[in-house]
């Protein structure tokens, strides 16, 4: 009675492993979520990669290259985790390239200044951590374990982003303005990273029951705001929300209304950079086809040679 086993595992807060029986819908939900997460990691290389060539010091250049490299590594772990569910990376990439699977909408915003690299580290990696820490306890073992590794590196990224902004905010007036402008542009899109509000999030209840999701979108969004507001004070930067204030009664920060119609537009493909991000990704994939084909052909020849020699 495999279904019982699965339910029992969930009830005991155990981990589902690749060979365990699991409902088809659970498998499909995980594949979609992990693939989307993996796609976000690799598309996320682009906005920050945009500043590698122009990084304003060699030290910052090295840190940024290592960070973007980490994101490629996150993509690799996550595609590998998805593959344990019986799909392969080439198919998932194909779904990304043909628009059948999505990536995080945040990466459809442009990096217009060096400070954006700091804002992404501080806010976007920061929001990713809030989303992902609970996933370290996800019911699916390979995903949970991938998240443990990823979260360690994301918190490193978040500190680096904070440090970039701190240096800028305490630097020249032009640097301070650059930092403030970046935070002004990235604050609201970062809040959108937690997804639609709870009363408009149709699949959340099922993901909660399956132990894939542990907290609701609005809970996580609140946690992020609570964590970030004091950090903004340390930075000496303003968050662009006139309604932001400490709510003594609730013991949380109150904040303004997120414009979810903008999120819908960006998800629908009409964000500032959707077309550029896809063109870059598909272009790299197509330009590399002859290289991948050569590697496959060479491996086959080598295998034939080894066989011939044996």
């Amino acid at each position: 009675m495999p279904e019982v086993t699965f339910d029992q595992l969930l009830a005991d807060d155990g981990r589902v492993e690749p060979r365990d029986e699991m409902p088809d819908a659970y498998r499909r939900t995980l594949i979609r979520q992990i693939a989307q997460h993996a796609h976000s990691e690799i598309i996320g290389m682009q906005p920050e990669g945009n500043w590698i060539s122009r990084a304003p010091s060699l030290r910052r250049k090295a840190i940024l290259m290592a960070k973007v490299q980490d994101e490629a590594g996150h993509g690799l772990y996550l595609y590998a985790a998805a593959e344990t569910l019986g799909v392969d990376r080439a198919d998932l990439l194909d779904q990304l390239h043909t628009g059948r699977q999505k990536y995080s909408s945040i990466f459809n915003y442009p990096t217009l200044s060096w400070a954006d690299v700091g804002a992404i580290g501080w806010l976007v990696d920061g929001a990713a951590i809030v989303n992902q820490v609970p996933l370290c306890r996800c019911s699916y073992g390979p995903y949970a374990r991938a998240m443990v590794r990823v979260c360690k590196e994301e918190s490193f990224h978040q500190r680096q982003g904070f440090e970039i902004l701190h240096t800028l905010a305490h630097g020249s007036p032009a640097q301070h303005a650059m930092a403030q402008d970046a935070v002004d542009r990235y604050w609201w899109p970062s809040l959108m990273m937690f997804g639609p509000p709870d009363d408009d999030s149709p699949n959340s209840a099922r993901s909660m029951a399956w132990g894939i999701k542990r907290f609701s979108n609005d809970e996580l969004r609140q946690r992020f705001v609570d964590m970030t507001v004091p950090q903004a004070e340390v930075l000496g930067l303003t968050l662009p929300d006139p309604e932001l204030r400490w709510d003594e009664e609730r013991g949380h920060y109150a904040f303004g209304t997120v414009d979810f119609s903008e999120l819908q537009e960006v998800i629908a493909g009409n964000g500032p950079c959707n077309r550029d991000r896809m063109a870059h990704r598909v272009g790299a994939h197509e330009d590399g086809a002859w290289v991948r084909d050569a590697a496959t052909a060479y491996a086959l020849k080598q295998a034939a040679r080894t066989e011939g020699a044996a």
Binding site: I42, M45, Q46, G49, I52, S53, R54, A55, P56, S57, L58, R59, R60, K61, A62, M65, A66, V68, Q69, A72, G73, G75, L76, Y79, W114, T167, G171, S172, A174, Q175, H280, G283, A284, D287, G288, A289, W290, V291, R292, D293, A294, A295, T296, A297, Y298, K301
Partner: protein, 240 residues
Amino acid sequence: MSLVPYVLALADDALVSAQRTAWWISRAPELEEDLALANIGLDQLGQARSLLSYAGAVEGAGRTEDDLAYLRDDRDFRNVWLVERPQTDFGVTMARLLVFSSWQCELYAALASCGDPTVSAIAAKAVKEVAYHRDHARLWTLRLGDGTEESHQRMQAALDAEWPYVEELFEPVDGALVDPASLRTAVLDRVQSVVQDATLAVPTTAPVVGGGRRGLHTEHLGHLLADMQHLHRSHPGVTW
């Protein structure tokens, strides 16, 4: 003879290479290669930083690695032409890396026992890194040369295109701690054996009249530096 021009020449080779290699991050044929090229670029950048800092220290005028990287114009850069031209074709990148890393391997191995303790320490660390780069380029040269019909042709074209820039590596440099000409046979033997194993032909294209070691560059370096330096130069004297 001052060490500065020589150390700067090696630093500039590594820095300009790192700048070109880093272009690949997010554009590689597969994810594993994004990681590998990021590693290689980071190694090259690390070598450049050590060498630039040392050049600044020897010079004694208080210039830091960033002053030297961001505030010199192209006529003051001393890198070879091999590394400064755009490389947006994977075959070209691997052909160039094969030549460059084979040369760096011989060079750093020789410098590891040179008379200058700082250069010797930098070289001893770097030689392990570039041995990995050379192996990476060797494996891709084999795969591309002996892969498909198309990859064979493209890799041959890439080698032919890079070959005119090989000889400049062996030209004399002011203040050299290792005579560049002394590395020629070992480097060419190494490259040629990989090329032949890859079923490719050793190119016969004639060398171009270069001048990187004297600060005479291709038109491409100015664009690379404009991109690399503009933000730093737009905010003089600040901390990043």
